[in-house]
């Protein structure tokens, strides 16, 4: 399964850093797989700390937003912390329109997001 992953995942200082392989997060099957893969990371950590970077991402759909919300709910249920980073201005507008910038803590860079979890 690891060869099919649409994610790049790295652990450092107790923080799991996640990056997307694809520029477009639109395909329902991929979104479901991404949600499941991150979900298993959350399940495997007693108090998960996650940074999800959008540095490669040009487009995402409302289904991708839904997957992020589900991830956030799972992290909160385990008293963990989730940060988002490197969001393109056009995608950030989607977060603003949907008011999801109110429930996600968003940082300009992965470094800043990781520092916020220290």
């Amino acid at each position: 399964m690891a060869g099919d992953s649409r994610l790049r995942i790295r652990e450092a200082d107790g923080v799991t850093q996640v990056e997307f392989v694809d520029r477009n997060i639109l395909d329902e099957a991929n979104i479901q797989a991404i949600g499941e893969e991150i979900g298993s990371i959350i399940e495997g950590a007693p108090e998960p700390k996650l940074v999800i970077s959008f540095s490669n991402v040009d487009h995402l759909s409302s289904a991708a937003l839904g997957a992020l919300i589900t991830i956030n709910n799972k992290v909160r249920a385990k008293s963990g912390a989730l940060r988002l980073s490197n969001i393109d201005p056009q995608i950030y507008e989607v977060f603003m329109i949907t008011r999801l910038n109110k429930i996600f803590e968003i940082h300009d860079s992965t470094e800043q997001a990781v520092e916020s979890l220290a």
């Binding site: 329902e28 487009h59 056009q90």
Partner: protein, 145 residues
């Protein structure tokens, strides 16, 4: 009189296969590129198209997964119009809860139509709710690049 570079249009049957969806999406976005629309227009049209066709298959064709939806598009130098019609029973878009209300923010669904309305200039459903027509007006020169 318009020539081949001033407008493009078509009607395509699309099945719930990623390759078919991407083919028509890329065709429409390619026309926008050729006509010099700014990148923000491509972002808006792609997002709205993806949301609309996802809804058509997920909700309209839940009981008929092998059937095609109809995509009709017309692009000229001033606007883009896309109509997506499914064969389902339709729905009442007026009953969708506002996903931006505080009590709905952590619900992982219900944002597609809202995003279409936000990024398109005009959105209309037929009375039975199984045909969505959306229009995107090109922004004035110098904006939305």
């Amino acid at each position: 009189m318009a020539n081949a570079h001033d407008n493009a249009s078509g009607v395509v049957k699309v099945h719930d296969e990623r390759a078919e969806i991407l083919a028509i999406e890329e065709r429409i976005l390619g026309v926008l590129d050729e006509m010099g629309y700014p990148s923000a227009s491509g972002f808006a049209v792609r997002l709205a198209f993806e949301e609309a066709i996802t809804n058509a298959f997920e909700h309209g064709h839940r009981e008929r997964p092998n059937e095609a939806v109809t995509v009709e598009y017309a692009v000229d130098t001033r606007s883009v119009q896309i109509t997506i019609e499914d064969k389902g029973p339709g729905f009442d878009p007026g009953i969708i809860p506002d996903p931006t209300l505080d009590e709905n923010l952590d619900k992982p669904f219900g944002r597609g139509i809202m995003l279409i309305r936000s990024f398109m200039s005009d959105v209309a459903f037929n009375p039975s709710g199984n045909r969505l027509t959306m229009r995107y007006d090109r922004p004035p020169n110098g904006s939305g690049a």
